[in-house]
């Protein structure tokens, strides 16, 4: 992506970028559209804002009808193989299934079975996918010890592998911010992509990810209710219901959400086959994803991958409703704080120091 046709507006926070440009991309002159050298069509304009005669319009319409008819005929045909029929049947049912949030347990199981079968038909490999619901009397919470984290990033590694994150764009849910001692939590000047021996002298490390707010702004803004808070406090996404508008990404005050700009790629041998519908199952292009506290692990009683991978014990995970859990001891006995508490988002992710 060259600088000239940058598609986004970035705040200049003094992070070393010297280009003094206006958001419109012009270095000189006014920002009005007359001065723009070439207009770049973006988003829906690429589809709707095209010159089209009545003839081409009919042509395109016929073509799409033919594709639809093709799908129906494959599923009804006497000649095509049983497998392709089954595939067409699965695709059809998946296409018209409802929102996961509204599904009954049977429907959840049915869609999970379809997805497993579909994967088997396409690749010949078997995966296991669960649709486990939230456990009763569980509210997940997380605590992060700033004095313990050494910045090794083993958590990031484990997270990528556990959650089948796109390798080609190197998507990562967790960010570890290297901050200078004595400057407070200055995220603008923090480095979240360092590569040198750690811990660096005069610095401390702080991890961020989805905080699973109890009052999540991302859920409020979703126009299709593809993201919601579950009973155990996890904020989850139905990847099949998400339309990719990225409102939630904009609404999140913590940079917790990630978008699939392209089809995620995970080498077959690296795919984690222990999956959950709301968790690490393979995503597609144009949908949001984020940390789910490893729903496929946490709902089975295991610790999230980041907690298990951390060699320093800086990450503490547990049930907030269990008065004897470690997370509760930390909240009651250590000096804890959360980020941007004044927003009223009630994140369930606390920071503390020794």
């Amino acid at each position: 992506m060259s600088k000239e046709n940058k598609k986004w507006f970035s705040l200049n926070l003094g992070s070393g970028k010297s280009s003094q440009k206006c958001g419109c991309g012009n270095e000189k002159g006014s920002c009005s559209s007359e001065n723009k050298p070439q207009e770049h069509k973006d988003g829906f304009q690429q589809v709707f804002d095209v010159q089209m005669s009545r003839r081409t319009a009919f042509k395109k319409l016929t073509a799409s009808l033919m594709i639809g008819a093709g799908a129906v005929s494959t599923s009804c045909s006497m000649f095509s193989g049983d497998e392709s029929k089954e595939k067409a049947q699965i695709d059809w049912e998946e296409q018209f299934k409802g929102n996961y949030k509204l599904m009954s347990d049977e429907e959840k199981e049915a869609t999970v079975n379809r997805l497993v079968r579909s994967y088997e038909l396409r690749t010949g490999k078997t995966i296991s996918m669960s649709s486990t619901n939230a456990n009763e009397n569980v509210l997940f919470g997380y605590a992060f010890n700033i004095s313990k984290c050494q910045g090794y990033m083993d958590c990031v590694n484990a997270c990528v592998e556990e959650n089948n994150q796109d390798r080609s764009t190197q998507m990562q849910y967790i960010r570890i911010h290297e901050m200078e001692d004595g400057k407070g939590f200055n995220f603008n000047e923090a480095d979240d992509n360092y590569y040198h021996e750690v811990p660096a002298a005069g610095h401390f490390y702080m991890g961020t990810q989805c905080f699973h707010c109890d009052n999540p702004p991302c859920v409020d803004v979703c126009p299709v209710q593809a993201t919601w808070r579950e009973e155990d406090g996890l904020v989850v996404i139905d990847y099949d219901w998400c339309v990719g508008c990225r409102y939630c990404m904009a609404a999140c005050p913590y940079d917790g959400r990630r978008f699939n700009w392209k089809t995620p790629e995970v080498p077959e041998e690296e795919i984690n086959k222990n999956q959950h519908y709301l968790g690490n199952r393979l995503r597609k292009k144009g949908v949001m994803e984020k940390c789910t506290f490893c729903v496929q692990r946490s709902r089975a009683g295991k610790n999230p991958a980041c907690v298990e991978a951390c060699p320093t014990g800086a990450r503490i995970f547990g049930n907030l409703l269990d008065p004897e859990s470690e997370i509760r001891w930390v909240l009651e006995n250590k000096k804890v704080f959360r980020l941007k508490e004044d927003l009223g988002t009630e994140p369930k992710f606390w920071y503390f120091m020794d």
Partner: protein, 212 residues
């Protein structure tokens, strides 16, 4: 007369709307809790261990021992079976002088003590010269290798408090009860307890490109 009627209907309209606003404004859509702390406090009253006992046991096959310290009862990994050269008495039945003599097989040559300074600690601060199968406290009381945390807690009392509560150290495998935590020596080498500095385990090259 008609004016009066209008006045009454107007005022009753305001009265009704004020009542409506009061009755609905304080309630959230789903929750009646003001903060997450309130919610935790209220909902944990219903909590009982049995309700989440149905989850599978993730400690199967691990050798653990139960300890009880300061009101906290939990499991820690059994230590003695993890020490390769235990029992120590297999060699330490003869005198140190004899073991150090020429011709005998060297042992512990790789142990370098980097724990406090020479004035504070040496081998005998923790190891019991009279019974090498046991550790010893500062006052000479015997401490079992399985309970070596008792040795550490003599100086690191603050860390000990945090460890008992669960703020220091790491849970093993699972967040569900029963609690199983790493003991001091599972993360810290007692002879060199500090964490080594090293390179991060990954570097995001795409992020670098995006930010150019």
């Amino acid at each position: 007369m008609s004016n009066n009627n209008i006045y009454i209907s107007k005022s009753s309209f305001w009265l009704i709307s004020v009542i409506l606003i009061i009755s609905f404004s304080c309630k959230h859509e789903k929750d009646e809790y003001h903060t997450i702390t309130d919610k935790i406090e209220a909902e944990s009253k219903k909590y009982h261990h049995d309700s989440i006992m149905g989850l599978e046991n993730h400690l199967e096959g691990l050798k653990m021992i139960e300890i009880s310290e300061g009101g906290h009862t939990f499991l820690i990994p059994e230590r003695k079976s993890a020490i390769t050269s235990y029992s120590c008495l297999e060699c330490h039945s003869t005198s140190l002088k004899e073991l150090k003599s020429e011709g005998t097989k060297k042992a512990h040559w790789d142990i370098q003590l980097a724990h406090a300074n020479e004035n504070t600690m040496n081998c005998a601060t923790c190891h019991n010269g009279n019974d090498m199968n046991q550790l010893q406290s500062l006052t000479g009381n015997q401490i079992d290798f399985n309970n070596s945390y008792l040795l550490c807690s003599q100086c690191h009392s603050k860390q000990f408090e945090d460890w008992k509560g669960g703020a220091h150290g790491k849970r093993i495998n699972s967040w569900t009860p029963p609690r199983a935590s790493m003991s001091c020596v599972n993360c810290h080498n007692p002879h060199q307890p500090h964490f080594e500095s090293r390179w991060p385990s990954r570097y995001n090259t795409e992020k670098v490109k995006e930010r150019q």
